[in-house]
Symmetry: C2
Subunit: 259 residues, 2 copies
Amino acid sequence: MLKPNSICILGTGKLARHLSEKLISEGIQSLFLWGRNSEKTAKMAAELGMQHLASPDHFPENSAAIIAVSDHAIAEVAQLFKGKSAYMIHLSGTQAISALDGCAAHTGVLWPNQSFTPGNSIVWKNVPMSVEASDDEARTWLLQLTALLEGPVAWLSGDQRKQLHLAAVAANNFVNHLMVLTEEWCIAKGLDFQFLMPMVEQSVKRLREVSPSKTQTGPASRNDQVVIAQHVALLKDFPEFSEVYALLSKQIAERSTRA
Amino acid sequence: MLKPNSICILGTGKLARHLSEKLISEGIQSLFLWGRNSEKTAKMAAELGMQHLASPDHFPENSAAIIAVSDHAIAEVAQLFKGKSAYMIHLSGTQAISALDGCAAHTGVLWPNQSFTPGNSIVWKNVPMSVEASDDEARTWLLQLTALLEGPVAWLSGDQRKQLHLAAVAANNFVNHLMVLTEEWCIAKGLDFQFLMPMVEQSVKRLREVSPSKTQTGPASRNDQVVIAQHVALLKDFPEFSEVYALLSKQIAERSTRA
């Protein structure tokens, strides 16, 4: 049983929506939605069956505030709701807990390690959460909240969360960029990008069982300079892909030579 | 019904083993195994229940030859078995069909788009195959062989196969290298690399439905130079990761600015 059981979601983006839907499905009755664009917020609140919080001045008593806005706006929204609630958390991997200093007695961070992009359906029990609390009361509340969301929990310091965020950038955003370059290449050459998916899925599945340092294959790992030179020649009209190819092949080859 | 139904697998590596196991499970009775190391080959043949082909001189009549050795050894093995069989194929993404010229009347290539690393279990019906044939008879035989293996088939020219191989290097080897850097970082910082897996799996799953060009997130895609600078500072003792971070962030930011 979450206590306080009333929650105000501050923000109307993708994460605010996903989180609201989950809290509704978990039976949280007293849910409010606030956003800077009042019209948009009223519409979204009606759509989800939440109460519309038209102004910080109407903040309900004994409600916790969850700031679900973009990273650069967190401090500003925290100031806007300063002193309105005893509990206030944000959901960012990059922002410190100190962004909420002085705005509530008990503050915290709950960073869901998931990419909330359009078209993603979120299964919260599979979403690991990095959490941080200012004190025992915030910790207790976050324990109840994360139990409701069901995913695995790691209590990390702000520094550790930043380090994990950096890891997530590489494992998610950078991998996605490689896929962007690969898809463009396939389209340019009339090849079916989807043809690669079984291999990619298999390799990602393997990461659960074997360290990637043990499974490298391909021309660079064999230091096969003939094939590498052919690839570089093929890429001459693809400057971005070409730069990425050169750097990553160099690093992979150096590692396999060292090993 | 595969005709010729007798097959000699030339090679004793991981792909040779996976392919032999599949052909056995599909009921191919007449299966021979040859390898340069006769003792090792005899042992593997006995283990799998295949016949050991001790020398090219004993090549059985009406048998097809499948060369399953590493790329640089294909031409040499093809010469060793020159004129022994009517059908000869190799399994490489990088080598041309011409590596088999003059060695058999009907030649071909069957490149399975999968990473045959230790610990991978191979579900052949999920393995797409790029195939090429020298003539109609080779094509007919390859059609039967790929039907047996069950995976999706693309008939590609040698040039297209090389282009697809380059795409596979990026989507598989380069992604794996990012994971190597990320895992090392996590270990160095006492973070659990596995914590990232649900996000990675979700993002890879999404590639089946949405173009990666539509789903980029993270600090570079927001051109958030504050967070990027923090990450670069964190990476100062990780020169490889640092180089990769700088290049990929630059490309992602440039694209998001252009968009």
